[in-house]
């Protein structure tokens, strides 16, 4: 490394940047900053601008923002028509509402299933704790698409669950499970469960056992201790885990496309169809902007919880 910093190329570059008023520090900040600005933040402005355009059959398939009028003056063409269209059409309204409903229900179930697991892992002695944690993370490393696909084989008419229940004589006719909202819920809870467990575990493992002992010494039963001490103290973990499930679930496309029925309305799927089937880019952009507005508040909440955790 020393050889590099002493080389003439390095020194020359450093001198040049110095003359341009750029410090090494500024340059180091600039690289990630510019990357995220150009490829994460700016795209949202492009999205917003195209949501105000009108579709047309051309390349690109939307009207430009500026156009020369007949008298040569520059005109701005922008309309809120796409948003009005979303508001008026019951399909879009229902898709947003149904996405929120499905995301809320799956978040609640992920919490109910994930909390006991996180609690148990956090209270386990080593090496069991590490092994269980690894087992929670392992499915997250395998393909998400293939894990959703696995549920197709589980839930379908001739699937594993129906075959098992029929051979045990519990049911006579196969249950309809695939292509229902129920299947979508299972898919979302299944996929995002590790996202719920990990922040909860991180929170519960830091819980000071002195609090629990104090509560027990004061005569609280384990049940009372849990609801009055553990649960309130684990609130930051609950919020972080819930937001990590809720936010991506809102815009989920693959799960409703593979496990849901034709009547399973989710906004991610509507956006996909609007873009790939109807090829209406401006309406698809408007759908995305409204979805963005829906998830901004939860994202801010998540970040404030995480910032607080860092300060502690």
């Amino acid at each position: 490394m020393n050889a590099l910093t002493r080389s003439p190329v390095w020194r020359g570059t450093a001198w040049l940047f110095g003359r341009l008023g750029l410090s090494g520090r500024g340059l180091v900040i600039a690289i990630p900053m510019l990357w995220f600005l150009v490829f994460f933040l700016v795209p949202f402005f492009v999205l917003g601008r195209i949501s105000l355009a009108e579709p047309r059959i051309a390349l690109p398939p939307y009207t430009p923002l500026f156009e020369r009028g007949p008298d040569g003056s520059l005109q701005i063409i922008a309309s809120l028509e796409n948003y009005w269209f979303l508001w008026e059409d019951a399909l879009y309204r229902n898709a947003y509402l149904s996405s929120i409903r499905i995301a809320v229900i799956s978040t609640v179930f992920a919490l109910l299933i994930g909390y006991p697991i996180a609690y148990y892992i956090a209270r386990s002695p080593e090496p069991r704790q590490s092994i269980l944690l690894l087992m929670v993370i392992l499915p997250f490393w395998t393909s998400f698409l293939l894990r959703v696909y696995a549920w197709m084989g589980f839930l379908r008419r001739e699937g594993v669950i129906n075959n098992m229940l029929m051979s045990m004589g519990v049911i006579d006719t196969p249950l309809v499970m695939l292509q229902t909202d129920f299947a979508v819920l299972i898919g979302i809870v299944y996929t995002y469960l590790p996202f719920m467990i990990l922040p909860l575990y991180a929170n519960l493992t830091k819980l000071d056992s002195a609090h629990l002992e104090a509560a027990a010494d004061l005569g609280a039963s384990p049940m009372v201790t849990f609801f009055t001490v553990t649960l309130p103290l684990s609130m930051p973990g609950i919020i972080a885990g819930s937001m990590l499930v809720f936010i991506p679930a809102i815009g989920e496309y693959v799960i409703p496309a593979l496990l849901g029925g034709p009547d399973t309305l989710m906004i991610g799927r509507v956006l996909w169809d609007e873009f790939f089937s109807s090829r209406d880019w401006p309406v698809a952009s408007a759908v995305a902007i409204v979805m963005l507005v829906l998830v901004v508040a939860p994202i801010m909440w998540l970040q404030s919880v995480q910032n607080r955790r860092e300060l502690d």
Partner: protein
């Protein structure tokens, strides 16, 4: 809650829920019958069919290239972002960078995919670059969200790291560049390897964003699998899933064992 039957039962059921579908996927990949969930005897014929499927092999090659490139660039950018956020104290735009480096983690994929596609189209119209869409645009898109994941992992490692090592090097006269490459980087290297691996698998796995930003002739593996699976279950996809799960399980368990051994030796 710590005692009694409730907790162990809930945990066992939770793990059954997590693993049963994966196990059935693996079991039925060795099924002779085309009807994926009806057992027709042991067979490896679907693995043979998979290896003869040129479309899948081609897509797998594209996906590997994309994943390798995005994971590498994402590790560089994510590490820089993490370093800046943990070591540079206050600077203008700090809050903005924090937000931009975490929001991609949870941003619904359809929004990211569509907005990036629109950016690429606008850039092509105004700047002439990127010309068309394909490997490059997928790599840029994947790099962006993978860098956010690397940044999270690197940040937590940088926070846990003993800063007195860096201070000592500075006191001995090392410049900031030398401190970073000789002290900081070697210490956080295991976390960066973990970050690279995570970025690699995330890129390999992405369907939605790639579908938006890819062009003709650049179909990634998930895109091909998705178009197959949409029409119903298909046994060669089970075989493919088993291979992927096998590779992942072996490497994650190996990494886990190695890290434990190292921790034991040092502790």
């Amino acid at each position: 809650m710590a005692r009694g039957w409730f907790l162990p039962v809930a945990v066992v059921l939770g793990f059954v829920f997590l693993y049963a579908p994966i196990i059935s996927l693996v079991v039925f990949s060795f099924n002779e019958s085309r009807l994926v969930t009806v057992w027709g005897g042991f067979s490896t014929r679907w693995y043979g069919e998979l290896l003869r499927d040129r479309q899948i092999l081609g897509a797998a090659w594209i996906s590997l290239q994309v994943a390798f490139a995005s994971a590498t660039v994402a590790t560089a950018i994510g590490t820089l972002a993490a370093f800046v956020l943990t070591r540079f104290g206050g600077f203008r735009g700090r809050l903005l960078l924090t937000g931009m480096a975490t929001a991609p983690l949870v941003m619904p994929e359809v929004i990211t995919g569509l907005s990036l596609l629109l950016l690429f189209v606008s850039m092509e119209l105004t700047l002439g670059w990127p010309a068309g869409r394909g490997l490059t645009t997928i790599i840029i898109a994947h790099t962006t969200f993978c860098a956010a994941f690397v940044a999270v992992i690197a940040q937590s490692r940088l926070r846990d790291m003993d800063e007195s090592l860096e201070e000592a090097a500075r006191d001995l006269g090392a410049g900031p560049v030398r401190v970073f490459f000789d002290i900081t980087l070697p210490v956080i290297a295991p976390a960066l390897v973990a970050g690279w691996l995570l970025a690699f698998t995330l890129s390999l796995d992405d369907l939605v964003i790639a579908s938006f930003v890819s062009g003709p002739g650049a179909s990634t593996l998930p895109m091909v699998i998705f178009s197959k699976v949409r029409l119903g279950v298909s046994p060669d996809v089970n075989a493919l899933a088993t291979i992927i799960i096998g590779i992942v399980a072996v490497s994650v368990v190996t990494a886990g064992v190695l890290i434990r051994r190292r921790a034991k030796r040092e502790g």
